[in-house]
Amino acid sequence: MAKQVSTPLYQQLLDRFDGGLAIAQQAEPAFLKNARLQAQDSFRNLGFPSTRVEDWKYTNIAPFLKNNYSLDHEHAVLHENTLDAAIIEGLDCYKLVLLNGKLMATGYKEQLPSFIKIRPMAEAKEEAGFQKYFGKQIELEKYHLAALNTASFSDGFFIEVNANANLDKPLHIVHTFSADKDLFVQPRHLIIAHRGASLDVIESVVSDNNAAKMFVNSLSEVVVEENANVNHYVLQTAQEGLRLISHTEVSQKRDSVYSNYTFSLPSAELLRNNLHINLDSEHTESHLYGLYLGADHQLVDNHTFMNHRLAHCESNEIYKGVLLENATGVFNGKVYVHQDAQKTNAFQQNNNLLLSTKATINSKPQLEIFADDVKCSHGSTIGQLSQEALFYLQSRGISEDSARALLVTAFAFDVTEKIKIPELEVYINKLINHHIPANQEMIKI
């Protein structure tokens, strides 16, 4: 079996490298053009990964590539109720809306304080600040879809928070996806928290309920400079037609703290999150929290990569999964400790609840360690709700349905309690409570 998926889309994309894209990219600065050429070569070699590629062993994207995707998405229209789906009740925040990966001009600039600069990537390309940070960490020859994104991304946002600035309210970025025909989009984003800055970002991914299928190959880079502190929340609540590959490449400098919270919820057909954290200096701290709740025929795949390059860094990772109906969950957490990364302290935990006879979970925690003075551990469990606990709750007059929802909420608590924004925590718990009773029939064993 080949390591590539054979799909007409591959050729279609290659044709664009030489055709339409080449003209559009003519005006781009030299560093970007070079990066694109290199990425094109990588993608030409790699293609779309088949399940023979280790990182895609459990996630077969071939069925999602069969559609006749259009690569042109200028005519999309945003529906009001799509945007409503992303509203977090009671949350005071700055808001940014994107449609199919493109910033919408809805007056976001006026509301923002002066120390945070946001503009479309297309406008930022020429800046020295952009060049300094763009595409520095990603190994294009290894990551199929990151290479494809770099080769042919169209637009996205570029956010910079000035040194020592502290954003008073969370920045809520709403990624909306909408199409009237099958569509392939590739957004590209870059967030930089300069020295000593602190920032809370909430990214919501929502889509409209059209019959059209959308394949989104998104790539975000986050740079956390010295002493900066970034809390990064990702909420994926898109509709069934969305297939999302989301790659986030984070680079952390000395004494910085980065926390990522990823919530993958129904109903997008395919959710694949690649979260790479590169610890480029000593004394950094990283926290990764994840909750995936898969229902229907969802395939939810979380790949995390903690790259401990230097000494005295700490990382902590907790991912919890709840699988309902015919859902498949995949977790792959890799902790890589380089030889120079002495005194590393790395912890990883993955717990899964299988609540339906047809659900599947594939978990692969992975440690690769080349330094001896380290403390690294990981744990992974797969199980069900405890019958004793259910009985206990029922014996105290709580209905079976509520008892189950309560136990799932409790299971998720290790992750949800870490959320630092109260309104968001309430919102997530509401979503859990919404999906669990809705699937009662399937849960009953």
């Binding site: 280790e54 459990y58 030889q339 002495q342 899964n352 299988l354 609540l355 339906s356 006879t357 659900a359 599947t360 979970i361 594939n362 978990s363 692969k364 925690p365 992975q366 440690l367 690769e368 360690i369 080349f370 330094a371 001896d372 003075d373 380290v374 403390k375 690294c376 551990s377 990981h378 744990g379 992974s380 469990t381 797969i382 199980g383 069900q384 064993i445």
Partner: protein
């Protein structure tokens, strides 16, 4: 052979084994020319006087071998393999490399000394010509008699093919198919010999069976094949290898071990592997690429693998259990120690297919020097495996900052009644622990040996008693000089 065998005859037999099974005496014919081809496969089969079905099976293995590519997923650089540079047939003979112990490498002798190996055995292991009575052979004879009484068949595969073809034909290749992987395919095509064990219904084998006691396995082959069948309600404990360092001029070792446990049967398979690991730069060591797999075919059956891996330049094996029968149990206990430039990529696979199946995995890795030690395991729970239960623990210990420890556990669950737990830790030997022992007058080297033995105890406890004592010494010796 109806008449009783006395020990003299056996020694005679031993000394003249070159003539067994119609081996030709012609010196030139003793070793087949290097290279692998269909003719060689036919030649081996003919030499061993094998039936037609076995030859056909070998040829199928050969075809699978031609089709297969070398794997690329392992966590180390696979050295280039010249499959055409190996001679695939050599009539087994007594290797007489030295005339007396004085000629043997003193370092090797020192190791024997530490392990407490009797002088006669030292000679055999080092390859010194033995002409006197050899203790273990007479021991072996008494054992053989006893086994025969119980109806236990314990002989070489070659013998079994001649005498019990129906059993061999039924079970050979039923757990590890001829096309399983490239090394298993190669083994199928050219396997030299190996052990065959059959325990009849309801029999509990009264002693530990060991290759060591099987007279005609002197000089373990490069492509060994082991087949163990435990019929309903039987029990057997089998030991492979020995703690003494084994030197061998063949670099590639690709053995296949198949275990079959029927209803209510139990097989316990213990390995102590101490092949030559190469010199300090990792040059010249053995590549130990073994396919080991057991099938719990019957209800309530149990297969348990215990391994202590200290030798070989590269150890690459995953003893696995297929839990087909309801209520069956699989166990895997492993200690892998690597030093210098050694590489170990080992672990297990547990396939839960039947109902109420249980498995337990305890893996302890210790890396020192420039070595790399990986645990790679799979726990698979099939859709029909209701109430499957697994517990996995894999710990790694690092000694020195140039070595690596890795874990690659795969957990696949398709059943919502499964309970699967996995945990892994990596750390170094605590300085406080060493200090504590130093303080009580124990030097650092001994302290490390003590700590390592404590660390590996869970696994060592699974070994049969004498083996466990030797394995403990072995661990300390392997890590000698890696501290301080």
């Amino acid at each position: 052979m109806a008449k009783t065998i006395d020990s003299n005859e056996i020694i005679n037999d031993f000394a003249t084994r070159e003539y067994e099974h119609g081996f030709v005496t012609d010196i030139e014919m003793d070793i087949a020319p290097a290279g692998l081809s269909e003719e060689i496969v036919r030649f081996i089969s003919e030499k061993k006087d094998e039936p037609e079905w076995l030859l056909e099976w070998r040829l199928r293995g050969y075809k699978a071998f031609l089709k297969d590519k070398l794997p690329e997923w392992q966590n180390f650089e696979l050295p280039p393999m010249d499959f055409q540079g190996i001679s695939y047939y050599a009539a087994p003979k007594n290797k007489k490399k030295y005339n007396s112990l004085d000629e043997v490498d003193p370092e090797l002798l020192a190791t024997f000394e530490k392990l407490g190996i009797p002088l006669n055995e030292q000679k055999v292991l080092a390859g010194v010509a033995v002409d006197a009575v050899f203790d273990s052979i007479s021991v072996a004879t008494t054992y053989k008699e006893k086994l025969k009484e119980l109806g236990i068949i314990f002989c070489s595969i070659g013998e079994a093919v001649q005498e019990h073809p129906e059993l061999v034909q039924k079970y050979l290749g039923s757990v590890v198919p001829h096309s399983d992987n490239i090394f298993a395919a190669l083994n199928t095509a050219v396997f030299s010999d190996g052990s065959f064990v059959y325990i009849p219904k309801g029999v509990r084998c009264p002693m530990e069976l060991s290759t060591y006691f099987r007279i005609n396995t002197q000089g373990t082959g490069q492509f060994e094949r082991t087949l163990i069948i435990a019929d309903e309600g039987s029990y057997v404990s089998y030991l492979e290898g020995c703690t003494a360092p084994m030197r061998d001029e063949n670099q590639l070792h690709a053995a296949v071990v198949e275990l079959i446990a029927l209803d209510n049967a139990e097989i316990k398979y213990s390995t102590v592997q101490n092949w030559y690991p190469g010199d300090k730069n990792g040059k010249g060591g053995i590549y130990n690429f073994v396919t080991k797999r057991g099938a719990c075919r019957g209800v309530n059956s149990k297969i348990s693998w215990t391994q202590v891996e200290t030798g070989s330049a590269i150890t690459w094996k995953y003893p696995s259990v297929i839990l087909q029968g309801d209520n069956s149990t699989g166990e895997f206990y492993s200690v892998a120690v690597t030093g210098n430039k050694q590489i170990a990529d080992t672990g297990t696979k547990m396939y839960h297919l039947g109902r109420n199946t249980k498995s337990r995995i305890i893996s302890k890795g210790i890396s020192a020097g420039y070595s790399n030690n990986s645990y790679r395991g799979l726990v698979h729970v099939g859709a029909k495996a209701d109430n499957a239960r697994n517990f996995t623990q894999c710990d790694s210990l690092l000694i020195g900052d140039k070595c690596g420890a890795h874990t690659f556990p795969y957990i696949e669950t398709k059943n919502n009644t499964a309970m699967v737990e996995h945990e892994a830790t990596t750390s170094k030997i605590g300085e406080d622990q060493i200090f504590y022992l130093n303080q009580r007058g124990i030097d650092s080297e001994k302290a490390v040996a003590l700590i390592i033995n404590g660390y590996a105890k869970e696994v060592l406890n699974q070994l049969p008693m004498e083996f466990a004592v030797e394995a403990q010494k072995l661990l300390s010796i392997t890590l000698e000089g890696s501290v301080g």
